[in-house]
């Protein structure tokens, strides 16, 4: 009996390990910034280079920071969803234009619509590093006290927005 049970047991353990292991996404690295204060920055705005934008100015409201770039294909896929979300007026979306050319970034917004209240222009990607950005698009949810509460890595999907993002924003708004 043992002759069969032991290999079968090992096989089942192996299957369970592979099942769990292979369903994990190695690209998704949990951010250590969750529940920490959003890293400060002061960057020129994308539209108006002589005006700046700082996260501190947004204290007291729940907002999203979406990291995007015109060269990023996935961002373009995600873009219509952001435009749609912005129209619903549920949560203000701010953009961080990451390692982009100003003109190309602006062109994308002209062509496909601008979901952002404002976009910050992070040309050298330094602020991106501060926020632990390693793959655009990324979307951070920041609460009223300026803490990062969630980070979406990669493109948002209608399901993620419906089932995760909107409920979280409502919860943070205390509704």
């Amino acid at each position: 009996m043992n002759r069969f049970l032991i290999p079968l047991g090992i096989f089942i353990v192996l299957v369970v390990f592979l099942w769990v292991g292979l369903s994990l996404n190695p690209r998704e690295i949990p951010s250590p910034l969750i529940n920490k204060t959003a890293p400060a920055f002061e960057l020129p705005q994308l539209h108006e280079p002589n005006k700046t934008i700082r996260p501190e100015d947004l204290h007291g409201k729940v907002w999203l920071l979406n990291i995007w770039a015109s060269w990023c294909v996935t961002c373009r896929e995600e873009h219509p969803l952001l435009v749609e979300l912005a129209q619903k007026n549920i949560v203000p979306i701010y953009g961080l234009n990451y390692k982009d050319q100003r003109e190309e970034g602006l062109a994308l917004l002209r062509e496909s619509g601008d979901p952002y209240i404002l976009s910050a222009y992070d040309h050298d990607g330094k602020v991106g590093i501060d926020w632990g950005v390693y793959g655009v698009p990324e979307t951070f949810v920041i609460d009223k006290s300026g803490l990062i509460r969630h980070k979406f890595i990669g493109a948002l999907t209608p399901e993620l927005i419906q089932n995760k993002l909107i409920p979280l924003v409502k919860e943070l708004n205390g509704a």
């Binding site: 250590p32 910034l33 050298d124 590093i129 501060d130 632990g132 390693y134």
Partner: protein, 164 residues
């Protein structure tokens, strides 16, 4: 003649990547010549940091854009006089412990660090157990008489007279 043309074309084709590599090398050399000591320190520390885009490489090995940016960040911090540990802490604070190429030794990584040793000990245990068992079996093996010995020898040589 036709052959020669083709070979020439092939050589040209093969030399393109080399030429490109040369330009990369020269720009890197320019940086290195400025301050080889600093550059060595940058590369040493970079080889302890994981490139998050190409996760099996360190940022010293990778030429992904993020890796280059992070190397520049490391260099800048060093120029500001920060210690290696301070820079590692800075990276961990932003990208998490996963950014360290060698995982820290702590309770959640014990299995990772010492698991292979555990398996080795387990394997040795099984080996010793089986060798002991085998030796015991050998000790209790029946001893053949002289007659049986000759029979066995003839059986093995293929001319078993008793049965032919």
């Amino acid at each position: 003649m036709v052959h020669r043309k083709w070979i020439f074309a092939l050589f040209l084709f093969l030399s393109v990547p080399c030429a490109l590599a040369d330009t990369v090398e020269t720009t890197q050399k320019a940086v290195t010549q400025n301050n080889p000591e600093l550059e060595k320190r940058v590369m040493d520390l970079s080889s302890h940091l994981r490139c998050l885009v190409c996760q099996n490489q360190t940022i010293a090995d990778s030429n992904a854009e993020l890796a280059i940016d992070l190397r520049n960040q490391v260099r800048e911090k060093m120029q500001q006089g920060q210690s290696d540990q301070e820079i590692l802490d800075y990276m961990v604070k932003r990208y998490g412990e996963f950014v360290l190429f060698n995982p820290l030794v702590k309770s959640t990584t014990w299995l990772l660090w010492f698991g292979p040793l555990l398996l080795l000990i387990l394997g040795l245990g099984i080996l010793i157990f089986n060798l002991r068992k085998r030796r015991k079996l050998m000790q209790h093996a029946p001893v053949l008489s002289a007659e049986e010995h000759t029979r066995a020898a003839s059986l093995l040589s293929g001319n078993d007279e008793a049965h032919s």
